[in-house]
């Protein structure tokens, strides 16, 4: 009771945040009803006909849906793994650099692309990999045939994943660096006294020290298992690479743009949210059960 008294003003200060969440996160959930309706904008939620699970049946029975789902999963999972692994390696390496100005510079350089939008970056990447672009310039300068990267299914997916990891790696790297800084320095001193080298220190102190952050990032990442990067792919793809790079979001986008099918689009959204909820809950539970680790 005493603590409640002390914390009461803090609770009051929470209210605006709660209200905003209610309005913008919980309020729109009412719109999910569209997923079960033959939604007509003019009739609104109340007068549109309910069609049960027809919208879901329609989407799952689309002949391309399996291929699109597979593309989505493949691209999202590889992106997720790499965008944990690459920043982790970078953070561990940067941590060993003692020159302050140099590590600061490298950090900024790696972080920079994170702030550029895909609209800009997509164009840059298409130019970089185009037939007359610098990459093909290098390739032909060593006497090889130029490659049409953006029009070739075997290259395109790699470019999508690679560029996304490159763009986003700075963000996770900063989080991990911050976590490393939080590790108690005396541990390293003790390890050195015990004769542990840099490698052993990393394995036995740094990694376990930042494990909670890595778990947190992967749990949060799993929520996006069906988000393979809509904006990026929409800007970079073209019909010749549909087979390998058309994902759920781009597919539904074209569906919606072509025919204003709000019902099926809402159904896909709901489907993605349910999968995300399931993934986040199970990994969270697993992390708790096997590692006794809690985020919240």
């Amino acid at each position: 009771m005493k603590s409640l008294k002390k914390e009461f003003p803090l609770h009051i200060m929470l209210i605006p945040g709660v209200i905003v969440t209610l309005i913008y996160a919980y309020g729109p959930m009412a719109g999910l009803v569209m997923a079960f309706q033959q939604f007509e904008p003019l009739s609104g939620f109340f007068k549109s006909d309910f069609v049960g699970l027809d919208n879901f049946r329609y989407v799952f029975n689309l002949p391309d849906f399996k291929q699109v789902l597979w593309n989505t999963l493949l691209i999202a999972v590889i992106k997720m793994v790499l965008s944990l692994l690459v920043p982790l390696i970078l953070a561990l390496l940067l941590n060993e650099i003692t020159k302050k100005w140099f590590s600061g510079f490298v950090q900024s350089a790696i972080f920079l692309p994170f702030f550029l939008s895909w609209t800009v970056l997509g164009g840059v990447i298409i130019e970089l990999f185009s037939l007359n672009g610098p990459i093909n310039g290098l390739i032909s300068s060593i006497g090889l045939e130029p490659i049409m990267f953006m029009l070739d299914n075997s290259w395109f997916r790699g470019i999508v994943i690679g560029s996304d990891v490159w763009k986003g790696m700075g963000y996770n790297m900063i989080i991990m660096l911050a976590a490393i800084t939080g590790i108690n320095g005396t541990l390293y001193e003790a390890a050195e006294v015990d004769g542990a080298g840099k490698w052993k220190q990393m394995l036995n102190i740094t990694l376990p020290g930042i494990a909670p952050i890595i778990i947190l990032l992967s749990v949060l990442g799993l929520g996006g298992i069906l988000n393979a990067g809509f904006e990026q792919i929409l800007i970079m793809y073209n019909p010749t690479v549909y087979a390998g790079a058309d994902i759920i979001d781009t597919f539904v986008y074209r569906l919606g743009m072509f025919s204003q099918q709000f019902g099926p689009a809402a159904a896909v959204g709901l489907f993605k949210s349910i999968i995300s909820l399931f993934m986040v809950s199970t990994t969270y539970y697993a992390a708790y059960k096997f590692n006794n680790y809690r985020i919240f």
Binding site: I19, L151, N238
Partner: protein, 577 residues
């Protein structure tokens, strides 16, 4: 419980209040907006008493609500910072007719579709609305549209009626239901969509070649443009035919190329086309066997470098860049190319000279596909509007102020922004009128045009550009701009001149389907479109031409057969043949 510290209390209260007031003001706005039309409940009663006069003035002010999607004013002389509410046309409308326009909201065009969907979803619609065909159909289905039959009959000015009857009343009939006129279409001459071929004449001269009449001749020309240095700069930096990633688009695409083979897959904008088969039924042009032959040819051209190797990555802007930069010498397209982008090509390279040709076909010039109706804009009136006839009067007003009487008045510098004024219908035969009137004046060696009616301004502008171009006068505009205006609208061998000949000589095929998308097109269209884009692009880039047969089978199986039935059902019951 311990008393809260005053400052904490104040902070909390302010925060809550600010939230409440934020919500509150929003609520008020919404509550106010719909009440505006209700302020003048007595007007309709008084007005019905006066005799119908197309340009007459209401005794009491009539308020008409509208919404507006606006682009920046086109004329650079327009005063900066002007808002749609300050448009001088509105002031004149108030003076002439005592009609006051109130905008419920105005947004830049790019956001219009979204904003309008919201307005439709909330049922908060203005009195006079500009809609496309899809939204017209939606509003009609919901019973939101006022019957304009009587208002049109009583109030339409002779000029407006003449425009609407210029196609035999076909477009008007399309937007009426059970004898009720539900919308006034701003339609245009469908022949504006005629496909022709634009070729660099100076390159032909440099290489000693003739203008191509057949596909084989075109192939030879395009090969020469690709490999024989047509611009004589000593570099291998040119290619034959402009193309961007959408094979069937509004420009720099290959609709005309397919037409050359007697294949009619699309009317553009990714809409498939339907032609009449031998048995009188409609068949989709997309799966004609001729399409396969055309794709095969396109593939060999791609291999030869006649088409850009990376066309599948290029949008229309990239294709235009290449045209302007003098990298490519041939493009399929419509009559307006000289107006844009060929005028820039001429300004950039003074030697550049473009000619227009009828589509090359297999054994001579080929027929172009033409839609039956070309109308993307329909003006409708909300059922709840008090004065539906005000919409007709406003249409009269806009046509009236285009005439010569107003030529010194409606200047952009004085705040007249024509493309912000709605409802606005132009002469459907606008381009044809310009062509005949300017040529008439030129043939008679006149220094002034004789038109004085609503077409005055447009005819005058083209006449001025033409005389300046022919006299080599570049004091008002560059050579390219004057040439563009002349060669697109006026020249007998130019864009519209050639299109007229094609029309007169019956060198066209109609797209017979002009109805709304059928249920299956709505449901499966996205998928079928994906299938087409993917298959066609891949065939052009080198996969087996026989994949076309697989495409046809999948297309039919994925809903195409059902669409064929639905379209023919429409054709036999609803089409005006």
């Amino acid at each position: 419980m311990k008393k809260m510290r005053p400052w904490k209390m104040m902070l909390a209260v302010t925060m809550i209040l600010s939230l409440l007031s934020a919500c509150g003001s929003k609520g008020n706005e919404n509550a106010n907006a719909p009440s505006t039309p209700k302020e003048e409940p007595t007007n309709s009663a008084t007005n019905t008493a006066t005799a119908p006069d197309p340009l007459g003035k209401y005794p009491e002010t009539v308020t008409v609500t509208e919404v507006l999607a606006f682009n920046p004013p086109e004329d650079p002389r327009t005063p900066s910072g002007i808002t749609p509410e300050q448009n001088a046309y509105l002031k004149d409308l108030k003076e002439m007719m005592n009609i006051e326009v109130k905008y419920k909201w105005t947004v830049p065009s790019a956001q219009y579709e979204q904003k309008f969907s919201l307005a439709m979803a909330s049922g908060d619609l203005p009195d006079v609305i500009e809609v496309d065909q899809k939204n017209y159909e939606k509003l009609k289905k919901q019973g939101m549209l006022a019957d304009l039959t009587e208002a049109y009959a009583q109030y339409a000015s002779p000029a407006l009626k003449a425009y609407m009857e210029s196609d035999g009343g076909f477009a008007m009939k399309t937007f009426s239901e059970d004898g009720k006129q539900l919308g006034i279409p701003a339609f245009e001459d469908p022949f504006l969509s005629t496909q022709i071929l634009w070729v660099r004449q100076d390159w032909l001269n440099n290489l000693g070649l003739q203008a191509p009449k057949t596909i084989d001749e075109l192939e030879k020309v395009a090969q020469a443009f690709t490999h024989n240095d047509p611009d004589q700069n000593g570099k291998n930096d040119t290619y034959g035919i402009a193309l961007q990633k959408n094979l069937f688009f509004w420009g720099f695409d290959v609709r005309g190329f397919f037409n050359g083979f007697g294949a009619y897959p699309s009317v553009g904008d990714n809409q498939s086309a339907w032609i009449k088969g031998d048995d009188g039924k409609l068949i989709p042009g997309l799966i004609q066997p001729e399409v396969k032959t055309a794709l095969g040819k396109l593939q060999s051209w791609y291999k030869d470098g006649i088409i850009d190797k990376e066309f599948a990555l290029k949008d229309e802007n990239k294709a235009v860049e290449d045209l302007v930069a003098g990298k490519v010498g041939i493009s399929y397209g419509e009559w307006w190319y000289p107006n844009w982008p060929l005028n820039s090509s001429v300004d950039k390279d003074p030697k550049a000279e473009w000619i227009a040709l009828q589509l090359p076909g297999i054994d001579g010039p080929a027929k172009s596909l033409v839609p039956k109706i070309r109308s993307n804009k329909i003006f409708v009136v909300n059922k709840k509007a008090k004065n539906p006839e005000a919409a007709i009067k406003m249409l009269n007003f806009y046509i009236e102020v285009g005439s010569k009487k107003y030529k010194d008045k409606n200047k952009a510098a004085d705040g007249y922004v024509y493309n912000w004024f709605n409802p606005r219908i132009a002469n459907p035969a606008d381009i044809e009128t310009i062509y005949t009137e300017v040529n008439k004046a030129l043939d008679a060696n006149q220094t002034e045009i004789t038109v004085e009616d609503a077409n005055y301004k447009n005819v005058y502008d083209s006449f001025k550009a033409t005389t300046e171009y022919l006299a080599g006068d570049t004091s008002n505009a560059t050579k390219g701009i004057n040439w563009g205006s002349y060669f697109s609208r006026v020249a007998k061998d130019g864009g519209w001149g050639l299109t007229r000949q094609i029309k007169e000589n019956q060198q066209f095929v109609y797209n017979e389907f002009y109805g709304l998308p059928t249920a299956t097109i709505v449901e499966k269209g996205g998928q079928l479109d994906k299938l087409m884009q993917e298959s066609f692009t891949k065939i052009v880039m080198g996969s087996s031409v026989d994949d076309f047969d697989k495409f046809v089978d999948s297309w039919k199986a994925l809903g195409g057969n059902k669409i064929i039935d639905e379209v023919n059902e429409w054709y036999s019951t609803e089409a005006t043949k």
